[in-house]
Symmetry: C2
Subunit: 461 residues, 2 copies
C-alpha cells in the first residue's frame, strides 16, 4: 500500500540510512512517499540524495521529498518517525560534559532533566494532532520513556516509542555459543529498564544453562576481552551484579544504567564496565562513538554525491534489525509481526500505573499495536528499579509542565554525584547559561520556560 512516512530529524546519520534501506527492501510499501525533514540543510540533502540513489540501486519505487519546514512535512503523513534530538547531540553533550566536569561531575551525571528533547516531542505531537491527527508517531529519539508517556497523556494521536535495547538478549546467547533462533524470551519493563523474565532454549528454561556458563566462563571472558576492545555492558560486571541483586538478567540499556555506584568516576567505570575504556559511557568511549559517527557521515556523503560509488556497495542490501519499518508494514499491510514496543500501559505490565509508557512485547497487524499482558516483575525490581525510574520520569514531566525551576534543582539534587546544595544551584545556573545550540531556537527558551517559585528570596540572608 502506498503511504506517506515523515521522518523528523532525518539528518540523524545512523538512523536514516537504516530506515532508507529497510523501506527500499519492504515490498509492501512500494510506491510510498518518504518525506525527510530536518533543520540542517546539509545533512538533510545528504540523506535525501542517498535515499534517491539507494532506491535506484535496489529498484525500489519509493518517492522522496525533503523540507526544512516541520508543518509542511506533516501534511498527509500516515506515519511520523521522530528521531530528532536537541541535547542528545554528540557535540552538545561533549560541550556539556566539559562544563559539568568543572563543577565536579563525572560524565555529565548532573541529573538535570532534559527539557528540550521532551518539549520537542510534545511540540511535534501537538502539530500532528492538528495536521495529521490519524497518523502514528513512532518515537525514536530519547528519552523514549518520558516522551512516550507525555505524548500519550497530552495528545490524542497514536503513540509508540521504539528502541533496540531488547536485542541485548542476543548478545548473551551469542557469547554463550547458542543459536539465537532457538531462543524464546520476554523482557518487559520501562524503556532502558527491562528484565529477562522468560528465557528458554529449545523450549527448556535457559537460566540454569546461563548460570552454568557464567559460573565457568564469565571471569575468563572478562579477562580475555579486556586485552582487546572490551565487552558490551550486557555481560559486564555491572550486568552480573544486577543479575545477582535481582535474580533476572537486565537487558540492553538496563545494565548501562543501574545504580549510581557503577558510574561515579573513571576508576569505578573500569571496575564495572571493564577496560580498556570503561565501556561506551565514558569520555573516551563517547569520543570513539563521535568519531564513528563522523566517519559514517563521510561515507554517506560519498554514497550520496560521488558518482563512482553506489550506496548498495557501501551499505549492502540487507535489512537492519530496527523495528520501525516492519511495524509500519504490519499495520498497513497486515504483515503480522512480533515486536518490543513502548506504549501506554493500561494493564499490560501489572503494578505500573495505566497512564505510564511500558516496554512490552506486542503483536502488530492490521488491528493495531497490541501489547501482551505480561507477568508482573518481581517486587524487588519494582521497588528498587521500576518505581524510582517512574518517579524520576513523573518529576521530569511535572517540571516541564509546571515550569517550576526548583524542580530542575531537585533533579540535580537527586543526582548522587551532587555533593552539596550550593554545587547544585551553581551547576543549574551554569547549564542554563550555556551557549545554546542551533536546534534550541526551535523550542521555547529554557530560561523563559522555567521560573523560581514566587517567594524564592524569602529568608535569604
Amino acid at each position: 500500500m502506498s503511504i506517506k512516512i515523515t521522518v523528523i530529524g532525518a539528518g540523524s546519520v545512523v538512523f536514516s540510512l537504516g530506515l532508507v534501506k529497510d523501506l527500499c527492501l519492504t515490498e509492501g510499501l512500494r510506491g510510498s512517499k518518504v518525506c525527510f525533514m530536518d533543520i540542517n540543510e546539509e545533512s538533510l540533502d545528504v540523506v535525501y540524495k542517498l535515499g534517491v540513489r539507494y532506491a535506484e540501486d535496489l529498484g525500489s519505487e519509493l518517492r522522496f521529498d525533503k523540507t526544512l519546514n516541520r508543518e509542511e512535512s506533516l501534511q498527509d503523513a500516515d506515519f511520523v518517525i521522530n528521531t530528532a534530538t536537541i541535547t542528545h547531540n554528540e557535540y552538545f553533550m561533549k560541550r556539556r560534559r566539559d562544563l559539568t566536569t568543572k563543577f565536579g561531575y563525572f560524565y555529565g551525571g548532573t541529573g538535570m532533566p532534559e527539557y528540550h528533547n521532551i518539549q520537542l516531542m510534545l511540540d511535534v505531537a501537538k502539530d500532528m494532532e492538528r495536521i495529521c491527527p490519524k497518523a502514528w508517531i513512532l518515537q525514536a529519539g530519547n528519552p523514549v520513556f518520558d516522551g512516550t508517556t507525555l505524548m500519550s497523556r497530552e495528545t490524542n494521536i497514536k503513540v509508540c516509542g521504539l528502541c533496540h535495547g531488547h536485542y541485548g538478549y542476543r548478545e548473551i546467547v551469542r557469547v554463550m555459543g547458542l543459536d539465537p533462533n532457538r531462543v524464546t524470551w520476554q523482557a518487559p519493563g520501562l524503556n532502558h529498564n527491562i528484565w529477562l523474565t522468560h528465557f528458554y532454549y529449545e523450549g527448556k528454561d535457559a537460566y540454569p544453562i546461563m548460570d552454568k556458563w557464567l559460573e565457568k566462563n564469565i571471569v575468563s571472558y572478562w579477562e580475555e576481552k579486556e586485552k582487546g576492545g572490551g565487552y558490551s555492558a550486557q555481560l559486564s560486571p555491572s550486568a552480573i551484579h544486577q543479575y545477582k541483586m535481582y535474580g533476572l538478567m537486565p537487558i540492553g540499556d538496563t545494565p548501562r544504567r543501574g545504580g549510581w555506584w557503577y558510574h561515579t568516576d573513571m576508576e569505578t567505570r573500569l571496575r564495572w564496565y571493564g577496560g580498556p575504556i570503561g565501556g561506551g559511557d565514558t569520555p573516551e568511549g563517547r569520543d570513539n562513538i563521535l568519531k564513528g559517527k563522523e566517519r559514517h557521515y563521510q561515507q554517506m556523503k560519498e554514497a550520496a554525491y560521488n558518482s563512482d560509488i553506489r550506496p548498495v556497495k557501501l551499505f549492502g542490501d540487507k535489512k537492519t534489525s530496527e523495528q520501525h519499518v516492519p511495524i509500519i508494514d504490519g499495520l498497513v499491510n497486515d504483515h503480522e509481526g512480533f515486536f518490543q514496543v513502548n506504549v501506554r500501559n493500561d494493564g499490560a505490565l501489572p503494578g505500573v500505573p495505566n497512564d505510564v509508557a511500558v516496554e512490552v512485547p506486542a503483536i502488530v497487524n492490521r488491528k493495531g499495536i497490541q501489547p501482551l499482558r505480561v507477568d508482573p516483575l518481581p517486587k524487588k525490581i519494582l521497588l528498587e528499579c521500576i518505581y524510582p525510574d517512574w518517579l524520576r520520569m513523573e518529576r521530569t514531566l511535572e517540571a516541564v509542565k509546571s515550569g517550576d525551576k526548583s524542580m530542575l534543582l531537585f533533579g540535580i539534587l537527586e543526582s548522587h554525584q551532587t555533593r552539596s546544595y550550593d554545587q547544585a544551584t551553581q551547576i543549574l545556573e551554569a547549564i542554563l547559561n550555556m551557549e545554546p545550540n542551533e536546534p534550541m531556537a526551535y523550542i521555547e527558551d529554557i530560561n523563559k520556560h522555567f521560573k523560581w517559585p514566587g517567594n524564592w528570596n524569602l529568608g535569604n540572608k
Copy 2:
C-alpha cells in the same frame, strides 16, 4: 468504664510518666487496670512505683500491675500502647553513630533499615492477634510509618500509630504572637512527612499573615535566637526552604528531615538548623537530649522511692498533650475528640495507596477512629516528598519480609552520604557485627534473618 491498658516498653522514661498522669486525670477510666511491661526490671519498677504513688496523689482509682513477660501482659488487654524500641535507644544510637563516623558518615546517616524495631512491632501485633485479638494497638515507638503499615497489612488487629509532631503548627502560631486557640488547621501526609494544607486564623486564611510575618521577621528571629539556645526545626532555614520549594509549610518532624542536603555535615546543619549546635539532630544536640533523659529518670526515681517527695510536686497535675489516653477515652466512653492519627489509608489521603498508613485528622468516639477524607496534596509534594518516602518504606518492609541482605545494602546505597559501593558493603558488615544491645535478644538475630542471594559470589574475582 473499667478496662485494661497494657504498656509495652513501659520503662521508657518520658513517655510513661505522661501516660500515668493522663490516666490518673481521666475520670472516665476510673477503676481501670494498667499493666506495665518491660524487659528492664529496674526501670519497670520505677514506673510501677511512680504510677502507684501518682495515683495516690491524684486520688485516682487506677490499679497497676507490672511484668517482664510480654504474653502475660497482653492477657485481657483492651488497649496496648507499644512504646518499646530496640535501636532507637539513646545509648545504642550513640554507639552506632560513633561507629559509622569512622566509615565517613555524619550523624549515623547510613540509610540502614531499622530491622529490629519493625520486627518487634510485628511480633507484638502477632502476639496480640493470638492473645487479645479485639484490642487496639496504639503504636508510639518509631518508625511509626513503617510499623503502622506493616501491622495493618500482616495482622487483623486494630492499628493506630501516634506521634506529636503535628503540634508543630502551634510553634509557628506562638512565635508569630497569635492565639493557638483561634487557629483552624490541617496537615495530612505520612508520619514525619506532613504539610500544612489549611491554616486559618479567626476564620481567615492565615498563610498571608504568616508570609508577612516571615518577610519581616524571620531573619532577625534567627539572629536573635542563635545568640541563645537556638530555635526549633519548625522555623529553621530548612523549614523555610521547604516552604519555598513546596508552597506549604512542613510541620513537626517534617522540617527535621527533608532532603539529604540539609544534613551532610556539621557546617551544613548549622546553616539550615542554626547555632549554637545545629538543632537536636547533631552529636551535641543528641548528647543534650540524653542528659535530659538521664536527669528526668533520676527525678522519676526520686518520685518513685523517696518518701519525702511526692510525684505531684515534681510533675504537676496537668494532662500532657499526648493523644493516647484521650483517644482511649473517646473509644471507650464516647468522649468524642479530634485527633491526628496514623491509620491504613483506604482513600483518606487521595494519591496514596490504600494499604499504606497515612497521617490524617480523625474523629474518635464510640464508633471508632474515623479518619477524615482530606484534599490531595500538591503534585510536587507527592513526587518529591511523599512517594520517595513511601518507596523507602516499601523497600524496608520488603527487606524485613524477604530477609534479602542485598536489600539492606540497597538501603545504604540509597543514602546520599554513601560515596562508593565498597563503603556501603563495609558499613553494612560493621553494623551487622556490632555488639548487640540487651533488647536484641528478644528478636530474631539480624544475622540469621538476612541472607545474601544464592549466587552472590558469581563473577567475584
